[in-house]
Every structure is written in structure tokens, then in C-alpha cells.
């Protein structure tokens, strides 16, 4: 992201007197207190009531401040500032309520190491959390995502290379279809593999079928990010390699790909993060299993998201606890992947 006004002039109009700062502070800190009071006294209640009243109070007071405090007719400007602040507040607080239960419920499971290392072969509704676990789902996710990566990363990079290196007549066509493919709903990918491979009897419910469904979802992510990365490689490098007498194949292999290496790793990681949490296609292709299954070609296989789904449907107290813990593991894994992708990408940009 580029900041537009990076070399800002001194902006003398931005210098404000301390009195105005105090007024501003009162407005921004006073209104939530007022809103809190109002929420307690009036029938508006709960978090939502607080947000709504705060928003109204804050808009009015910010507008008044803008009009009288600074002696400018800038109510609209003040409203915009409050609006932007409110969207950040609402979004961040919503996301916090999404993450908090996962973290708090997940931490409860961290003390039970067996949850990570054992499978669920002997787990019933009443089994305590000290027995059994979701190790089979973790292994299943690793196997399926691994196979999907092996399939879709090479194809995705080839598609990206076509757009940036060949630059033939089909380029807009290829880009359009890659983009269109990124909109394919995950459930449709599952249905496709189910009808093409499982109904026709080529495969049974298996980890490999699940991996194929995941690779369909992964391909466009990898292709698009890889294309963006390859675009960053300066054309000077390519022309220099060609001028030295290199063929196009040698240019790509010895110059373009090594230069783009870390960026391509980023694209693969982003692809993995995209599919690691997919549930719907796995329900139709890999099904789910209670025991550890290391063979992707025979028998159904469990993965973290589908494990969460089935545990949730079982609905018992301990089942739901296990589901939360699996969600926690999944979320931690995805955050790590995402951070890794960011770090690798940043390092590339700095070079």
C-alpha cells in the first residue's frame, strides 16, 4: 500500500491550540461514558445499544465541536471522521468476539496434550478430555493440504508464467479464467470431484479425493499471487539474459524463477492458508474418520475443519469442547502461515 502524501508539506493549518485539544478529548472520551450511562438507564441495552447510542452522541458532539470549537462549518467532515472511527470500532469488536471464544475455549484444551497426539478411535460422548484426541485430523489436514500443494503450486506457477513470460494472444483469456475460477464456491469443487471421481468409481472416499478438491480451490490463489510477484521482476533482467544468448527456458529457469523465489513461496503459503480451513468440499470427498489413516488412496480421512463440523453436530458437552480446541489449532496454524507469508514477502520487497 502506498501512502499518497508521503512528503507532506508543513501544513500550518494543522497546528491547533491546546484549548481545542482539550475540547476534542472531552468529546471523544466523554461520549462513550455518556452512552454507557444512557445504556444502563434506558431500554437500549447490551453492546449493540451502547454502540448505537455512542454513535449518535458522538456524531452530535463532534459536529458541535466542529461548528463552535473551531469556528468552521464542517459538520460533514466531523461526521465522516466519526463514521470512519465507528466502522473500525464495529469491525474490530465483531472480529474480537469471533476470536475470543476460540482462544478462551482453546486454551482450556491446551493442558490436555493427548488431544494433539491421539486419535478418536475410542472416544464417545462421555469420554473425558484426558483420553483420545484429534491427532488423526491434524495428520489428515497435513496430508491433504500437502498433496493439494504439490498439485496446484506447479500448475499455478505455470499459469502465472504464461501470463508474464509468454505474453501470447491468450493472456487476457487466461487471466480472466483464473479470476473466474477464484469465485468457484468450495461446495461446487467438492461436488465436481464427487461426481467425476467418486461416483464414477475411480476413487473411493479418500484423502486423495479431498486433496484434489482442495487443489481446485488453491490454484487460482497461487496463480494470481505468483503473477503479481513475477510482474515485479524487472524486464531488464529478462532482456539481459536474452542478450547473453539464453533461450527463454534458460532465462526463466536461471534468472526469473531464482529472483522470484521467496515471492513464489509466499504465493504457495497463501494458497495453503486459503484451503486449510475449507470444510464443505471435504465432507463430500474425504468424508471423515475416527482413526488415524496415513494412506491417502484408501479409506476416508479426517481433517481439522471437517472434524470440527462433525463434533459440533454430535452436540455433547465434551464433543463441542473438542471442536473448539480443533478450531483453536486450525486458527493458530493459519495465523502462523499468514505471518510467515508476510515476513517472506516483506523480505523480498526489501531486496
Amino acid at each position: 500500500m502506498s501512502r499518497l502524501l508521503s512528503d507532506t508539506p508543513t501544513q500550518p493549518w494543522k497546528i491547533v491550540d491546546p484549548e481545542y485539544r482539550i475540547q476534542q478529548l472531552v468529546t471523544h472520551l466523554g461520549t462513550p461514558l455518556l452512552a454507557l450511562l444512557f445504556t444502563v438507564v434506558s431500554p437500549m441495552s447490551g453492546f449493540s445499544g451502547f454502540t448505537v447510542t455512542w454513535f449518535i452522541f458522538h456524531t452530535i458532539s463532534a459536529g458541535l465541536l466542529a461548528k463552535y470549537g473551531k469556528k468552521k462549518k464542517s459538520f460533514a467532515n466531523a461526521f465522516l471522521e466519526v463514521f470512519v472511527g465507528a466502522t473500525i470500532f464495529v469491525f474490530v469488536s465483531f472480529v474480537a468476539t469471533v476470536l475470543w471464544p476460540v482462544i478462551s475455549n482453546g486454551m482450556a484444551g491446551v493442558t490436555h496434550l493427548n488431544l494433539i497426539f491421539q486419535d478418536a478411535a475410542k472416544v464417545g460422548a462421555d469420554t473425558s478430555l484426558n483420553k483420545g484426541g484429534l491427532g488423526h485430523a491434524i495428520v489428515g489436514t497435513i496430508i491433504m493440504v500437502g498433496i493439494a500443494t504439490l498439485i496446484s503450486v506447479p500448475i499455478g506457477i505455470l499459469a502465472a508464467l504464461y501470463v508474464t513470460e509468454v505474453r501470447g494472444k491468450l493472456t487476457p483469456f487466461v487471466r480472466f479464467f483464473v479470476q473466474a475460477m477464484s469465485g468457484v464456491p468450495s461446495i461446487v469443487a467438492g461436488l465436481f470431484i464427487y461426481s467425476a471421481l467418486i461416483v464414477s468409481g475411480i476413487l473411493q472416499y479418500s484423502g486423495f479425493a479431498g486433496a484434489l478438491a482442495l487443489s481446485i480451490l488453491m490454484l487460482p490463489t497461487v496463480a494470481r499471487t505468483a503473477e503479481e510477484i513475477l510482474r515485479l521482476i524487472p524486464d531488464d533482467l529478462r532482456t539481459a539474459a536474452l542478450a547473453l544468448g539464453g533461450t527463454q527456458w534458460r532465462t526463466v529457469r536461471m534468472v526469473v524463477l531464482p529472483a522470484a523465489k521467496s515471492g513464489l513461496i509466499t504465493s504457495a503459503i497463501l494458497g495453503i492458508a486459503r484451503v486449510a480451513g475449507e470444510t464443505a468440499p471435504l465432507l463430500l470427498t474425504a468424508f471423515g474418520n475416527n482413526v488415524l489413516n496415513l494412506n491417502p488412496f484408501s479409506d476416508s480421512m479426517s481433517a481439522l475443519p471437517s472434524y470440527v463440523f462433525t463434533q459440533f453436530l454430535l452436540g455433547g458437552d465434551n464433543d463441542v469442547k473438542r471442536a473448539w480446541f480443533a478450531t483453536f489449532v486450525l486458527l493458530v496454524a493459519i495465523s502462523i502461515l499468514f505471518t510467515a507469508a508476510r515476513i517472506v514477502a516483506d523480505r523480498m520487497k526489501r531486496n
Partner: protein, 333 residues
Amino acid sequence: MSVTEEIVKVIPRNISVIRQGSDKVFRGILIAGGLAAFVLLSGIFGYLAISAAPVLKAFGLEFFTGSSWYAGDGLLPSEGSMDPPTFGLAPMLWGSLLIAIIAVVIAIPMAIGIALAATYFLPKKIAFAFTIFVDLVAAIPSIVFGLWGFFVLMPHGALWAKWLNTHLGFIPFFKVEFEGFEQSPFMAGIVLAIMITPIIAAVSREIFSSVPPELITGAQALGASRWTMIRNVVLPFSKSGITGGAMLGLGRALGETIAVFFVLQLFFDDINWVRILESTGGSVASLIVSRFGEAQPLEISALFGAGLALFLITLATNALATTIVSTTNRTKK
């Protein structure tokens, strides 16, 4: 093109290219890789259409317009069925569209606010961190949002819905025919809104940062406040880009399966046109997951028909969105 440019334009000399054998093979492989997306898309269409054929043949257009979903004994009347099934997708199709529209209506202002904040309001470093945070939210798996919707949002959301119903019930949207606010399109819409906000915000942010800086500094030099500048320079410039982003979000919301499955009660017998607070919704994707496990062959074929409809709708939405976004990027850069 102006006259001077016309004169200066030089016609380049044609350079003939003779490619070596290795390059021919290499380019062939790249073309194959480039066409993979096209091949897969046509494969998906072909297989879904073939698998859906029995039901599409038996019910024809009725499959998309009828409003009843009943598995019966799994035989067609022509096969001597005693309890003939009927498959009508209309409530699900409209339901999918309804919750996606609710989601987009909630998400657009939020996404614009977030994108404006990241581009014009927050200090540079905070804006950078905030952008990473928003991108990370886009990577949260849908099942997490499903659990959130069920365990966290639903109890609160039902209260909000009840409040809306008692105070604004005279508006057709907030009417309910029977009580039960929990698994309504409104709830599914909120969950989807949080899921698609990062997508719309990312597109909007990109468009905002491609507004020519001279326009912005020009507006500021004329003494425009931030509001005047955004209202008169930034928003007109990025209108169509935001529209494209919103359509990308719409496509994502239409195809979302698991998160919707947790928070929406499917209702097959009638189309719920506007009563968004009532626990009678529809969603094509959620229908497939919820019926797949216990379906007989004929119903499976009907579910493939549903998948086909979903595939075509999301493909069309996405293609339109891509065209809008890419044309605005090209003309305005």
C-alpha cells in the same frame, strides 16, 4: 490521440523469431498450465450438468421455479413411483440472493470506512498494521464464523431482531409470520457481512490509493476539508471500483456454505421474499451440505442441479465484477 503523437509515432521494424526446440516445449507446457483454469471450469460445468441431467430432464424449468423440496420414495412417476418426489429450487435460490444482498448492504459502508481509514485517516504505521489485520480476517476459515454465528451471535442477534420487530414491525422487511428470530436470513447476512468486508475493503483500498495524487493535492490546495476532498474527488473516481468489489463480495456470499449452514434454518415450501427476521431462509450451498448425507440417487442428482445453478450464478457475478474492476483500473491509471 493528438496530432503530434500521430506524427512522432514510429513503426517498429519486424523482428523474426526462430525458437529452439527446448523453447517450443517450454512454451507448450506454459500454455497447458495457462489453460488449466479453463479446462477445469469446463470440466466442472460438464460433470455437474451430466450428473444433474436426470432431474433436469424430469422436471425441466420447474426445477428452478418450483417451490417444494420433497424426496418421496426416490423414484420418478414414470418409474412407477407411489410417492413421487418434487424438487423445486426457487426458495433456495431467492434465499441465497437475499442473504447475500443483506450481507453486501451491511458490508459496503463498513468496508468503505475501513478502506478510507487505512488510506487517509490513520497514521502510516497503524494503517499498515490495520491492513494486515483486515487481510488476516479474510483468511479466517468459514467454520470459525459458523461457530461464532451459532454460539455468540445468535443469542444476541435474536434480541436485536426482536427489538427491530417490535419497534419497526410495520416495515415489511421486519415483519414476521411466526416467532423465532434465531436462524433467520438476517443472522446469516450479518455473519456473511463480516466475512466479505475484508474482500470489499481490500478492493476499495487499492482503488483509493490509485486516485491521482495531483487531484488530491489540488483539492487540498483549494482549501477542501477531508470530507469535501473525499466526497468530490475520491468517491466519484472510485465509484465503479467499489461496485466491482461489492460484486466480488456478493459472489463470495452466494457461494458460502458452512458458515450459513450453522445459522440458517432452511425452509423449502414457500419463498420467503422479504421477511428477513423470520427463521425461514434458503441457501443453495447450505441445502447441498444438509441434504447430501441422507439423499438417494435421484435427490443427489437434484443436488447436482442445485450445484450447477450455484456455479453458474457465482461465475456470472464474479466475471462481471472482474470486468468492472479491471476496466476501471485500466482506464484510470
